[in-house]
């Protein structure tokens, strides 16, 4: 996939969440790199949190990293009953200062997932961003 340069527009807003989801299905995180200072953000940011610039280029980041923290949900919100117990995980992406969170199935107990465990993004569906152990 090729990085493309965008400026802010309403059409751009609508496109990128879909692109973000499509890239997750390919194991990647679509991020925005500030064209002025290089600061990285997730796609749902429209002005640079570091310098306020509104110009970004899309960057596709390999969806691999390690577990920062997580929980194992036993009392779920509506729609997640059939997945219990499952984990909701925050991961550090390798090599950059960016985190992403998502859903991980088949986690019964904390011994199944020590902090720092290597993980990867494997898809996106009605459960949200899907993360699995590497």
């Amino acid at each position: 996939m090729q990085a493309a340069l965008f400026t802010y527009s309403k059409v751009y807003n609508l496109l990128t969440k879909e692109e973000f989801i499509n890239s997750a299905k390919e194991g990647k995180v679509l991020a925005r790199k500030c064209t002025k200072c290089g600061h990285l953000h997730l796609v749902t940011t429209y002005f640079c949190q570091n310098c306020g610039n509104k110009g970004f280029e899309n960057v596709f980041i390999e969806g691999k990293g390690s577990v920062v923290t997580y929980t194992i949900i036993t009392v779920p919100p509506d729609g997640y009953e059939k997945y219990v117990p499952y984990a909701w995980v925050v991961m550090n992406l390798d090599g950059i200062d960016l985190r992403i969170s998502g859903f991980m199935s088949n986690i019964q107990s904390p011994v199944d997932l020590p902090l720092g465990t290597r993980v990867k993004i494997v898809g996106y569906d009605e459960r949200g961003m899907l993360i699995e152990k590497l």
């Binding site: 923290t69 929980t71 949900i73 036993t74 509506d78």
Partner: protein
């Protein structure tokens, strides 16, 4: 800016209530008006905080409450800022009185959700998160704070029993509060044996879903002096924000909005954390009280655990935290909570706190946030 005071405060009991959302809002409002010794017609604006009015078939609560108080012509504003709605509403009321727009206003917070059941509340509360990344990936609110807790326990070598001590302490305080939702003495063992909701948090690490309403009368110093001797002064008010999603924060174990709001409030008051005699903080989960008391500057990062172990935050400790019982025991009617904290400070500083009175207290702080601390307000009050 005008000096701003709180001259009246009222609260319903927190818990599972039978009356409608409007009825409980009115009960608290009338209590506040009568405690201030004023007439409804002296109120120039209403600030009404609520999140899930939809659950009891009444949104746009402001005009309904003002009409029922016999003052339909008085303007009102209905405010939602998740679990921080009450303190954010108070801040808007404060700012308008400080700016001289109004002499006296009513701030009422209310919530009525327990009739909906755990599934409804768990689901709808998750809409307060950054839903695309959190609620929309299966994270419940206990789950988000559980994620903070796991990171905190690992970083600072604390244990689940340490978290349990916060719950035990707040239940001890709540036992002394006739209006508390969970008036029940508990032990560390009770907490450890309660059902896991979102590991590592168990049921007794979590505040309850509560119904309830709280109200205060906010006014200029001139208006206060003309009406009563029984009032407190607002000496600090601060607000702050954080990344809505946990993943966007540099540290999982600190809440930036608390630090920003607290620093602004301390600066306005011209005091430091050491000058605070007691605080009502946002302990929606046991882990939150540890994080809050560090972010508010009462303890260094990672040191709140040791403070709790030593009993420093107990009612007779060096810095009593949540003398009311906090969200954990007093309860958490989310739109009312921030106002309820101010009611507690009013009662403490005007000699109405009964058995749970903090000895010789002159300065009290309230800290209330929305979601995982995405929005926050801190207020500091002193007795006069």
């Amino acid at each position: 800016m005008e000096k701003v005071c709180v001259i009246g405060a009222g609260s319903t009991k927190y818990g599972k209530l039978q009356d409608s959302i409007t009825d409980i809002a009115i009960q608290a409002s009338v209590d506040a008006i009568e405690s201030a010794g004023i007439e409804p017609k002296e109120i120039q604006a209403g600030y009404i905080s609520n999140v899930f009015g939809i659950a009891d078939k009444q949104v746009h609560l402001g005009p309904v409450i003002m009409s029922d108080l016999g003052i339909p012509e008085v303007p009102s504003l209905s405010i939602e800022s998740a679990c921080g709605s009450g303190s954010v509403s108070f801040r808007e009321a404060y700012a308008n009185v400080a700016a001289g727009f109004y002499d006296a206003v009513l701030a009422t917070g209310v919530e009525k959700v327990t009739h909906t059941g755990t599934e409804w509340t768990t689901t709808y509360f998750s809409y307060c998160s950054d839903f695309f990344y959190e609620g929309g990936a299966g994270a419940s609110f206990p789950g988000l704070f559980a994620s903070m807790a796991r990171a905190y326990l690992a970083e600072f070598k604390a244990t689940e029993e340490d978290l349990a001590m916060v719950a035990v302490k707040n239940h001890d305080n709540g036992l002394l509060n006739p209006k508390a939702h969970l008036r029940k003495k508990i032990t560390i063992d009770d907490v450890m044996k309660s059902a896991v909701v979102a590991s590592p948090l168990k049921l007794y690490d979590c505040c309850p879903f509560s119904d309830g309403a709280s109200a205060v009368i906010i006014c200029s110093e001139k208006f206060a002096k003309e009406h009563t001797k029984n009032y407190i002064q607002v000496i600090g008010s601060g607000r702050g924000g954080s990344s809505a999603a946990l993943q966007g924060r540099e540290h999982i174990t600190t809440i930036p909005s608390t630090k920003i709001a607290a620093q602004a409030a301390y600066k306005m008051a011209g005091i430091t954390p050491k000058d605070i005699d007691f605080a009502e903080v946002h302990d929606c989960f046991t882990i939150a009280e540890l994080v809050d008391t560090e972010d508010l500057g009462f303890f260094e990062k990672g040191k709140a655990v040791e403070a709790v172990r030593q009993g420093m935050t107990r009612l007779n400790g060096a810095i009593p935290i949540n003398p009311s019982g906090g969200l954990k025991s007093k309860g958490h009617p989310i739109g009312a909570t921030g106002i309820g904290q101010i009611v507690e400070v009013f009662d403490q500083l005007t000699g109405k706190a009964g058995e749970r009175t903090v000895k010789d207290a002159k300065i009290g702080l309230t800290h209330n946030f929305g979601a995982t601390g995405a929005s926050c307000a801190v207020h500091i009050f002193k007795s006069v």
